[in-house]
């Protein structure tokens, strides 16, 4: 079965929301421009939520995704500002992101500390360093090669049917990353071990899985996704900023959980996470399209989270084990 029932009802829910908003505001909502905007703008959240999903599957947690995003973007922007060639700047920023992931992974795996505490610590530290580096100011890089500050928003025309749809590079990169990683997670043998580790680390070890190494890899992978988001965000906004992604770790967690990941590990999928982010984005979008009170906008994320887990729990309790 391709869709577990969780993903199925999430997809249905998304379609339901689309139908409702589409019915109420057909002119503005049901346009490629609007969908393009929704999808592109949720790209960063998708990447961060993917980063969260990977570690959730191995029974971890990464509260530092938002801070690492900020730190990575700051590092990248500062290097570009100082005239470092783009490939080198990208490489160094990747290393700095992976370093954060490695610290998380190391402390969780070798220090046997709880991921919650470890990443709570690194969350504070990473943003702290980003702020120290920039004293909180925007870092722009007017002298870096032009293409870098253009590419994330560059639109590639993809012909579908008769007409061509312009898809921004940000969205394209995110989709490609999500689809290829989602596929690997679903079918690639080495990545299947993530699920076994999350379900029972002890049993996984005795089943010949190198638990420590694989768990560490999950944190690195998480940092890698954050790096992609940081590069796209830095390019799209043309600045590095120490306050990027504040609060995004909680959004990412919410989305991943709505998508079926669990803090007790062993479950989660990229499709589910994507649908979770999409749901939150659609509701936020619909809120504005329907001219909802902007004050209530913030409450929706929490409410959607609670409702989503409640629906799932009721389904689970009622439907029993299967």
């Amino acid at each position: 079965m391709l869709l577990s029932s969780r993903q199925f009802w999430l997809a249905a829910l998304n379609l339901g929301v689309i139908a409702v908003i589409g019915f109420l505001r057909p002119d503005t909502f049901l346009s490629w421009i609007n969908f393009k905007a929704i999808l592109t703008l949720m790209s960063y959240d998708v990447l961060l939520a993917m980063a969260m999903t990977v570690v959730l599957i191995v029974r971890g947690l990464d509260l530092s995704v938002g801070s690492v995003l900020a730190l990575t973007s700051v590092v990248l922007a500062m290097l570009l500002r100082d005239g470092v060639p783009i490939p080198i700047a990208l490489a160094i920023s990747l290393v700095s992101a992976l370093l954060c992931g490695a610290v998380n992974g190391f402390l969780v795996v070798k220090g046997r500390l709880l991921p919650f505490l470890v990443t709570l610590g690194t969350m504070t530290i990473a943003r702290g360093i980003a702020t120290v580096l920039t004293t909180g100011q925007y870092v722009s890089f007017p002298h870096a090669t032009r293409w870098f500050s253009k590419f994330a928003r560059y639109e590639i025309d993809i012909p579908i049917g008769g007409s061509a749809y312009g898809v921004p590079v940000t969205l394209l990169v995110t989709l490609i990353t999500a689809i290829s990683f989602g596929f690997l997670l679903w079918r690639w043998a080495p990545m299947r071990s993530f699920f076994f580790i999350g379900e029972s680390p002890d049993a996984a070890a005795l089943s010949g899985i190198r638990v420590e190494r694989v768990t560490f890899t999950a944190y690195l992978l998480s940092a890698f996704f954050v790096w992609i988001a940081a590069v796209l965000m830095t390019s799209a906004n043309k600045i590095g900023y120490a306050n990027y992604g504040i609060g995004s770790e909680l959004r990412a967690l919410a989305a991943a959980v709505i998508g079926g990941a669990s803090l007790s590990g062993g479950t989660g999928s990229i499709l589910g996470t994507f649908l979770g982010v999409l749901l939150l984005a659609l509701i936020g979008n619909g809120f504005i399209l329907l001219n909802g009170d902007p004050n209530w906008q913030q409450a929706t994320v929490g409410a959607v989270l609670i409702i989503a887990v409640a629906v799932d729990a009721i389904r689970r309790i009622r439907g029993g084990s299967e």
Binding site: T135, K238, N291
Partner: protein, 304 residues
Amino acid sequence: QDNEHYGMVVFLKGSEFFNWSYAGFQDAAATVGATTELQGPADWDASAEARAVDQLVAKGVKGIAVTAGDADTLTGAINAAMAAGVPTLTFDSDSPNSDRLLFVGTNNYNAGFAAGKAIGETYGDDARVGVSLIPGLDSINHRLQGFIDGMASVAPGAKVVTEVNDEGDLQKAESVNTAMLQANPEINVIFCAHGNPATGALAATRNVGRDSGDNKVGVLAWSIDAPILLGVDEGEYAATVAQNPYMMGVQSFWALWSAAHPTQFDSLSNPGMGHVPTADLDTGVAILQQGNPAIQALMSPPKL
């Protein structure tokens, strides 16, 4: 004998705007050999500012300049500081019911008025404005009121169509403004009522394909951040409202310094302290458009 020491308290510590203020504060202090420090939370939590004020009083600074993240929340702390004999004033965001010496900053209503007037003059009665803001901040409310009045003063037919909450976040600003433009295609101006959303709002115009051409949505920024100044210079933004945060810092310091050094005349409002201006100091705004020479001057932000 220790140097005289003065403190500045801000919210969103580290934001470029307050860095300008602090630079002014620091530079002014340096001319008389005084030292300074910057305190406050990196987020919107005004109660943390109140605690920072308490802390500075306990530390025994000579004077405190505070920007009130929330007017009421800081009243108590400012009053306590004044009662303890530490001259305290507000800058940029006021706490009008407190005993502060005075307020140094942009008169937000006036600034909003100027901005509204500029839009009214450019777009006339056709102006349909969407506002990107954080609800509930007094300063922003005043700006908006000023904006509405200013615009009405020259173009009575112009209208504010809707408001969206950008939560002070770049990313968020882009999504809500995009949606706003989608929902209200008649909008032809986005008024960013504070510093953060401008890049997001501009990106939003691009997302809906209205960043150039006849149908272009003009973005009025409220910021002197380098990327935005660059954008103004390149014609991406319609204009930006430039406050004068550096001068806020400088004036704040001098007022505090004067209060801490009594001369032959007492302060009119706070006997026992030195003589300070008896009215609030408006540091003014400039509406910067493409080609304005001030842009180049502001492009290199201060080093702290």
